[in-house]
Structures are given as structure tokens and as C-alpha cells.
């Protein structure tokens, strides 16, 4: 990922409406993001674009992810 794209993504992950997501998403960027394939990284960018409550419900297991493309990254977020 280009430096600028990563900078934008980092800002959008670390300045959320919900504290829960600030922590969960920045930690994921620090610990897991580099190990993802380019395609998986794009899926993460898509997830990071979701509304805060919807994304937090997926990560906290209060809702199930029905999109098979997103589900593997959601599973990683849950464990991270």
C-alpha cells in the first residue's frame, strides 16, 4: 500500500466515533495489517468504511457477518 493511502487509512481507523473501534482498528493495523495480502488489505479498507455501530456489532460478535468476502477479515479482527 502506498504511504499516502496508508496514512489516510490510519487516520480513518484511529479517529472513529466509537472508542471501541479506535482501539480495535489501530491495534489491527499495528499487529496484523502488514501480513495481509493486497486483496485482504482492500477488504479491510472496505470494512473500515462501514458505519461505526454496524462494524462494532460485527467485531464484538453481536451481529454475524453474512458477506463471505468480508467474513475472514472480521474473524481476524475478533481475535486481534
Amino acid at each position: 500500500m502506498k504511504r499516502e493511502d496508508y496514512g489516510r487509512l490510519r487516520w480513518r481507523c484511529s479517529r472513529r466515533a466509537l472508542l471501541e473501534l479506535d482501539i480495535a482498528l489501530t491495534r489491527f493495523l499495528d499487529e496484523r495489517f502488514d501480513q495481509l495480502s493486497e486483496e485482504q488489505q482492500q477488504v479491510f479498507v472496505e470494512l473500515a468504511d462501514m458505519e461505526d455501530h454496524d462494524l462494532w456489532y460485527l467485531i464484538s460478535g453481536q451481529a454475524e457477518c453474512e458477506d463471505p468476502r468480508l467474513a475472514p477479515i472480521v474473524a481476524l479482527l475478533r481475535k486481534s
Binding site: 496508508y6 472513529r16 466515533a17 471501541e20 479506535d22 480495535a24 455501530h53 467485531i59 453481536q62
Partner: protein, 595 residues
């Protein structure tokens, strides 16, 4: 260097509830209005508000704004200004119904009215019994509100500058505000927004504390900018805390956990609440529980390597009960404490939640500062609303559901005042020479400094200092030491160094600029708290205990007054009287605050 200048009638900094509400007034009046936001508007922290918005609609039972006014004054421990409080409680019905007309999907009763539920501290008939006054949209009230306000702004042609950070307030030689400087994050370009009206709606600064329920965005940017421009900060010693946030993370653990049988334990596994509240134990009120936790930590009975947290134990509960009655709690423990609460207790600490103080305004949303004998002289062109403003309606403590009301009422009144002032027809005042110099110098210093302080380490030192020395329960000696420490940390915060010098999306630079704002609030909080030698509302001191002469430690004879902290004038404090005179009704006379 030539800096681009963008000209607007009004510039609003912040796109949470207060900013969006004020923008509607200006745009719908046909004024050219810009809203600057660090994030997309619907990512503002208002989204996190769940509780609801208070209004005495009386849809479920009899209610009256005068009763709401009484509750708010009592909640404020009589530090709130009674004119502002009357204004807010009276305006509540109108702003809630307006919001409904903007498309806010409030919960409804069977006959189609807005459904109302009870909320702590809201009573009927001047404190007699609980009343249903909170209007909500499921558990997403803030989210729904922000979407409704944003749509209305899109319709009204408000111009949004998304992912821009405001840097400094621009004042002319007479002290009037003529705009702000701001940086576009995508390019790193600094621009002057030249305006006839400038409204700050930048939210709170909860990130000054190590344990805070606030999202990372709440860095008090408006307060920092105001402070650097010589505007005093009001009543910053008053912060509302929640007893149980996850230690180290701040994520809120609902009080329902103690309701279901959760027990607080210290390092020797003792159920210490038995000593502090023999009857209610772990179910004692928020204040009592928070104070007991802080005392245990201060006296060395905290848990962990640093002895700085308490354990919330629910391992004795049936796992099925935990999963059914406390949804999401297990996941919060696993995600943010690395603990499965079914098997191990959760580490918790009292956690900062809401800032009662802020930029001093009157109930019209105009910023007011001392000038000569006048303690509340209007700063031309400058307005503030929401958590960053201090009208002051929350005084020493805020009632639940009054924060969403505050941002609607004072967002609107700040917008209306700006429209009124602009219609008086004044042209743009001239920009002073070197209007962007301060901002450019700050950025250049960050980019060029060698051997300066590390942003992360300095921020951490500030947050720990605030948590340890000015937390939920305050001790005179700790506050004194805290003042010395925060002044040391302030030096480092003005000597920051960043490694990344790039222009586009440089988050290191943005975080350094945010820290320069946070430190202003941290310093104001510590010094104001040390100076106030009584207990009142959320400011509770060990050396100002409950006595017959001073019930709850409150000393009205000496301390029924607002703090105004002037960082630009040698950290001077000036006190101004509380406005005890409402707009149309009799004064709500002083009483001991007890529930």
C-alpha cells in the same frame, strides 16, 4: 509565503451535533457557511451517545420545563447559570420537535407520539418522583440525530471541509475573531478561513485522562485554540467520571454488571465496598463507588504491577446469565482487557466521561470574557456550543440526556446569534498582518526540531499525571504535586519532535498538533482543581469532607463562583459569580444536593 484565503460568512469548526445544528441556522438564512471537520461528519463522537435527549414534552405523564430546570440546577450543584438553564429547558420541546421534522426516527408510543423513558436525576414536581423525559432512538440516539442534522445541512447547501484540522484562531487588534487557520490533511496545505462569524463546536477533551470513555478524536482542539488566543477556559476542574471503564482502554463497562451481582475487589481480593457502604455495597451510587475505588488505589491496594486498577468479579455468576443479561460484556473483556470474564475478573478504573467546563459563553452562544469591570464582555465574531462551550448549564455535574439537549439548544442559539449579528450588516473585518504566522511557526517547529520530546511519551505522561493527580477523587497533596508535574510536561509538549516530515496524511504531525491542544486543557484542569478548596458536584476533595457546616464539602460562602483560567497571563485565575437569576421565574434557592 503566500497562504490561500477562503472567505465565508461563517466558519464552524466541528461537525458533531452542535456544529451541524448551528450550520443549519446559518445556511438556511442564506449565509455562505463552511463546516470544518477532522472526520466525516457522521463519524463525530456524538454518534456514541446512547441515552437520549431530555425534553418535558409530557407525552407519557405530566411534565414541565420548570421541573426540568430545577433538576438541572440541582444536578449542577448550583454552579450552573440559572438564566442559561431556564433557556435550555424551555427550548427543549421546540428543538426536539424540529429534529423530528428533520427526520429523526424517535421511538414512538402506540398513538404515534415520541416515546419517553425515565433517566437518573429527572424528576417531576421539583424533585418529587422520577419522570419520563428522555426521548431516544433505540440505542442509537446520537447516530440517528447526527444523520438527520447532516441531511438537513446537505439540503441547505452547507459547504463541508472534511478531514481538515483547524489550527489557530485569528483575532484582530481589537480582539475580534476574524477566522481560523486550518490544514487539509490530504495535502498538508495550510489555509486561512476568513469569516464574519466563527463558531467552535469541537467537543470535549476527555483524552487528557489515561482512562477515558472518549474516542481518540476528543482532543479539545477548540479549547486549545481559544487558550492560545488569550480566551480564558471556564470551570475545567469539573469532569464527570464513570466508575467502571476497562483499565488501560477506557471502554465502558455498564453498571448492569454490578446490578447482576458483580463484585469489586482490591489486590487482596477483599470485597472492599463492604467497608465503604455496608448496606448497598457494590450497588452504591456512582460517586460513592468511584471514590472508594480511588481510595483503595491511592492507599496501595490496587491490583497489577503498578497497583493502579480494581477487579470487577463476575466469575461466580452462571455463564449463561452473563451471556443473556450482559450482551457484549464478554467480548469487551476479551478485546480490551485480554480477559475472559467468565473465568477471570475484569480490570477496571474510574473513567473520565464528560467535560462540564469549556469556552465561556452566555445563553445566546456568544463567547464572553472579562474586560475591565465587565466579567462577561462579548468577543465580537466568536461563538461556541456543545461540550466545548460553557453556558454554563451543567455547572459542577451534568444530568444524563442533558448533553444532547445542550448541543441542540446552544448549537441553534449560537447559529441564530451569528445570523443576527451578520444581518446587522458588517463586512468582513480585515485580516491582521501575518494571520497564519502562528500556525506556520508551530508546524515549522515540529518539522525542524532536533532532539525534542516524543509525542507518544509526552502524551502518556500527561494522561497518567491527570489520572493520578486529578482523577475522580482528589487529594490536596496530590493536586499540588500534579500542578508541578503538569507544568513540567507542558514544557515537553511545547518542544515536540516528529520524525515523519511528509505533507500528505502525516498522522504524526496531526497527533502532535492535537497534543498541543490537550496540554492546554490538562493544565487548566489541574490548576483550577488545585485552586478550588471545596467539594462540589464532580469535584470531590478528600480535604473538603461532608460536615454539618459544609454538607457534602460544599462551601457556598467562598466558592459559589465560576473559575476562569487564563493560560496566557501566567496561569492566572479570575472568578466570576454564578448567575442565580433566571430569565422569567424565581431563583432556585441553594439547598444541599442529595438524592
Amino acid at each position: 509565503m503566500s497562504i490561500p484565503v477562503l472567505k465565508f460568512d461563517a466558519v464552524i469548526v466541528g461537525a458533531g451535533g452542535a456544529g451541524l445544528r448551528s450550520a443549519i441556522q446559518l445556511s438556511e438564512a442564506g449565509l455562505k457557511t463552511a463546516v470544518l471537520s477532522k472526520v466525516f461528519p457522521t463519524r463525530s463522537h456524538t454518534v456514541a451517545a446512547q441515552g437520549g435527549v431530555a425534553a418535558s414534552l409530557g407525552n407519557s405523564e405530566e411534565d414541565h420545563w420548570h421541573w426540568h430546570m430545577y433538576d438541572t440546577i440541582k444536578g449542577s450543584d448550583w454552579l450552573g447559570d440559572q438564566d442559561s438553564i431556564e433557556y435550555m429547558c424551555k427550548a427543549a420541546n421546540e428543538v426536539v420537535v424540529e429534529l423530528e421534522h428533520y427526520g429523526m426516527p424517535f421511538d414512538r408510543t402506540d398513538n404515534g407520539k415520541i416515546y419517553q423513558r425515565p433517566f437518573g436525576g429527572h424528576m417531576s414536581n421539583f424533585g418529587e418522583k422520577p419522570v419520563r423525559r428522555s426521548c431516544a432512538a433505540a440505542d442509537r440516539t446520537g447516530h440517528a440525530m447526527l444523520h438527520a442534522l447532516y441531511q438537513r445541512n446537505v439540503k441547505a447547501n452547507t459547504q463541508f471541509f472534511v478531514e481538515w484540522m483547524a489550527l489557530d484562531l485569528i483575532r484582530d487588534a481589537e480582539g475580534a475573531v476574524v477566522g481560523v487557520t486550518a490544514m487539509e490533511m490530504e495535502t498538508g496545505q495550510v489555509v486561512i478561513f476568513h469569516s464574519r462569524a466563527t463558531i467552535f463546536a469541537t467537543g470535549g477533551a476527555g483524552r487528557i485522562f489515561n482512562s477515558s470513555t472518549n474516542a481518540f478524536i476528543n482532543t479539545g482542539d477548540g479549547l486549545g485554540m481559544a487558550a492560545r488566543a488569550g480566551i480564558p477556559l471556564e470551570d475545567l476542574e469539573f469532569w464527570q467520571f464513570h466508575p467502571t471503564g476497562v483499565a488501560g482502554a477506557g471502554v465502558l463497562i455498564t453498571e448492569g454488571v454490578r446490578g447482576e451481582g458483580g463484585i469489586l475487589r482490591n489486590s487482596s481480593k477483599e470485597r472492599f465496598m463492604e467497608r465503604y457502604a455496608p448496606n448497598a455495597k457494590d450497588l452504591a451510587s456512582r460517586d460513592v463507588v468511584s471514590r472508594a475505588m480511588a481510595t483503595e488505589i491511592k492507599e496501595g491496594r490496587g491490583c497489577g504491577v503498578n497497583k493502579d486498577y480494581i477487579l470487577l468479579d463476575i466469575t461466580h455468576l452462571d455463564p449463561a446469565t452473563i451471556m443473556k443479561r450482559l450482551p457484549g460484556i464478554r467480548e469487551i473483556g476479551i478485546q480490551f482487557a485480554g480477559v475472559d470474564c467468565i473465568k477471570e475478573p475484569l480490570p477496571v478504573v474510574p473513567t473520565a466521561h464528560y467535560q462540564m467546563g469549556g469556552i465561556p459563553t452566555n445563553y445566546t452562544g456568544r463567547v464572553v470574557v472579562p474586560k475591565g469591570d465587565d466579567l462577561a464582555s462579548v468577543v465580537p465574531g466568536f461563538y461556541a456550543a456543545g461540550e466545548c462551550g460553557c453556558a454554563s448549564v451543567h455547572g459542577a455535574n451534568r444530568l444524563g440526556t442533558n448533553s444532547l439537549l445542550d448541543l441542540l439548544v446552544f448549537g441553534k442559539s449560537a447559529g441564530d446569534s451569528a445570523v443576527e449579528d451578520l444581518k446587522a450588516g458588517k463586512a468582513h473585518r480585515e485580516l491582521p498582518q501575518g494571520a497564519a504566522e502562528q500556525s506556520l511557526a508551530r508546524i515549522s517547529a515540529l518539522d525542524n526540531r532536533k532532539g525534542g520530546a516524543n509525542v507518544y511519551e509526552t502524551g502518556l505522561a500527561m494522561r497518567r499525571c491527570m489520572q493520578d493527580h486529578a482523577g475522580v477523587f482528589r487529594f490536596g497533596d496530590m493536586l499540588k504535586k500534579g500542578v508541578d508535574k503538569i507544568l513540567e510536561i507542558e514544557k515537553a509538549a511545547h518542544e515536540l519532535e516528529i520524525k515523519d516530515k511528509s505533507m500528505a496524511w502525516n498522522t504524526a504531525r496531526t497527533e502532535a498538533l492535537e497534543l498541543e491542544n490537550l496540554i492546554e486543557v490538562a493544565k487548566a484542569t489541574m490548576i483550577s482543581a488545585e485552586a478550588r478548596k471545596e467539594s462540589r458536584g464532580a469535584h470531590v476533595r478528600d480535604d473538603a469532607p461532608d460536615t454539618p457546616e459544609f454538607p457534602n464539602g460544599r462551601n457556598d460562602k467562598e466558592w459559589l463562583k465560576h473559575t476562569l483560567f487564563f493560560p496566557q497571563e501566567g496561569n492566572k485565575i479570575v472568578y466570576k459569580p454564578v448567575n442565580m437569576k433566571p430569565l422569567s421565574v424565581e431563583t432556585i434557592e441553594l439547598k444541599t444536593r442529595s438524592y
